[in-house]
Amino acid sequence: MLKMVVCIKQVPMVSELPWDPATGTLQRDLAEGMINPACRSALEAAIRIKAAKGGEIAAITMGPPMAEEVLREAIALGADRGVLLTDPKMAGADTAVTSFTLARAIEKVSPGFDLVLCGASTSDSETAQVGPQLAEELAIPGVAYVDEIEIQDGTVRVQRISDHFLETLEMDLPGLITVTTGLHAPHHVPLGGLQAAFDKADIVSLAAEDLGLDPERIGLKGSATRIINVYSPTAAKKNLVLTGAPKRVVEQLFERFDDKIGGAIGKDLKTDKRA
């Protein structure tokens, strides 16, 4: 039986978020959470593999207690069980420490796993580091930014687009892949499945102590990197309002922007005008 682990992260639903100026991290507790889109694609990939080849899917997430939501959602979508890593000591972890923590948890909850699937990157930080680092931590091969996935006996063959080239790679299992949102568009959540995921679901919650982790090695304490600053980029756009009758407005538009409009439609309007 193919044993799969899907790492999912709860991310804020909105891009404009309050953040904690003291630590430079996002105030996640104030936002509505959702499964990170690429993680949902990773889950979808696992669900398709399971449908074709059979197997077991364990969804794992690290986050505040409310991250349990995304595990229930993952179970509604087709995961068999959920693992929640939650502990104030784990909070504020950078990507390296996150990978370290996830690796120790995966070894504990899914020994002898065949395939770990992660989202290629997350919509709230976009580092794309956790997946590849997790492969290192687990001492298994890994391929990032995967689109197509084909499981064969003891190996996985994947395709990804890299610098405009389509690469086909094959690696032995156990292995790790990070999945893009490209080919694995997720399904909508089935309502009956969601109800069932709340009535009865196999979810375990683990703290640092359960994993035997040294508090100095995890969370903000164990993190070598610090976020110096997080801010929303402000676009300094200037609006130009053209007034007058429609004909006059169009004339003004062409007077001011004929080079840009011409470029867009592939015509040199200045030459045309002269002709």
Partner: protein, 376 residues
């Protein structure tokens, strides 16, 4: 946590699949079969039906949230779902025999057959005892004759619950509910009504001419009809309340957004106290409506009688929808009166929530009866 996750899941569905087409299907009065197709496997057509019959087995608050979120995007599709689930599927779940459940429910919960509830006639509606459609016994069958009007889902229904009297001399005591399939001989769907709102839902008349149905299709006993109807409508009212709430929520959100964008006197109109007062009232009413509805749902799930609570929720949610959509148009000014913005659709859709599945006058009647029955 469950209710939050249900809301999120349904909202993501509605925003992806319904919101982009809601204006078009209203303009074209088109029922969106392509969305129904996507809703079927997600169990939108068996929201509260037991899992054994293909349902999702949801609790009532989850049900209300689902209808609310779908209606926030398209109230006409919300109407389809609430009618189907609460007055189409539910009466069979509640009053059907095991055989009837096994025979009729899977196709309904799977969404292959959309349900309709046919009480209203030219001379019956608020007066549920005034049904003139007849169902006369003929051997092991009943022969149904009559005309039903203003049937929500009429144009697309695959299964209709028809209220008919088995003894025309004693209509009150002989009203029965018959499960009639669309392909039954003598069953015809009339013209689609040209209505003010809910235009994407094909509301129509249904004609029954010498329509023969086997006696196994009678729900309960002859004479149970009014009881079944009123029980179904109690549940239906939660759905209509949720639909009205979804409309009010949508209008409120649009009004807040627009008031921050629209500049007059070189300021956003949200900076004016009059607009702020409108928004404050809208927020308060929407919140109160939501709490009243969820309370009624909680009472239902606790197994206690909930008629009065459902009537209060329906009365208040529908009045809130009418007021809030009206204010949303007002805040949008001239643009709000234009089809360029969604608020005019919300405004047109809202009114009927005060009319169908028991008018506001009937809700007050139900509430007053409960009030007066209490010991003082």
């Amino acid at each position: 946590m469950k209710h939050k996750v249900v809301r999120k899941a349904v909202r993501m569905f509605a925003e992806a699949e319904l919101a982009p087409i809601a204006r078009d299907i209203d303009r074209d009065a088109r029922f969106p079969w392509e969305v129904v197709e996507k809703m079927r496997p997600l169990q939108f057509f068996g929201l509260q039906a037991p899992k054994a019959y293909g349902g999702a087995g949801m609790d009532s608050i989850s049900y209300a949230i689902t209808i609310e979120e779908i209606s926030r995007a398209s109230a006409a599709v919300g109407l389809c779902l609430t009618v189907h689930n609460s007055v189409g599927v539910y009466p069979i779940v509640r009053f059907g025999t095991e055989e009837q459940k096994r025979k009729f429910l899977p196709a309904m919960t799977g969404g292959e057959r959309i349900g309709a509830f046919c009480l209203t006639e030219a001379n019956a509606g608020s007066d549920a005892g005034g049904v003139e459609t007849t169902a006369i016994r003929d051997g092991r069958d009943y022969i149904i004759n009559g005309t039903k009007i203003f049937v929500s889902n009429g144009g697309v229904c695959g299964m209709a619950l028809i209220f008919a009297v088995t003894d025309p001399k004693n209509p009150q005591r002989s009203t029965g509910v018959f499960i009639v399939e669309r392909n039954a001989p003598g069953f015809t769907v009339g013209e689609i009504e040209d209505l003010c709102g809910m235009r994407a839902n094909p509301v129509s008349s249904l004609f029954l001419e010498e329509c023969r149905v086997p006696e196994e299709n009678l729900l309960g006993r002859p004479g149970d009809g009014i009881k079944i109807g009123l029980t179904a409508l109690d549940t239906g009212r939660l759905g209509i309340a949720a639909q009205a709430l979804g409309l009010a929520q949508a209008a409120f959100e649009d009004a807040v957004r627009y008031s921050k964008e629209r500049q007059q006197f070189r300021k956003p109109i949200s900076s004016f106290q009059t607009i702020q007062n409108y928004l404050a009232d809208m927020a308060t009413e929407v919140d109160a409506a939501r709490l009243l509805l969820y309370r009624a749902c909680a009472v239902k799930d606790s197994g206690r009688p909930f008629s009065a609570e459902a009537a209060m929720a329906k009365l208040y949610c529908s009045a809130t929808a009418t007021r809030v959509t009206n204010l949303a148009v007002q805040i949008h000014g001239g643009y709000g009166y234009s089809k360029e913005y969604d608020v005019e659709r919300y405004f047109r859709d809202a009114k009927v929530t005060e009319i169908y599945e028991g008018t506001s006058e009937v809700q007050r009647m139900v509430i007053a009866r409960a009030v007066l029955a209490q010991r003082t």
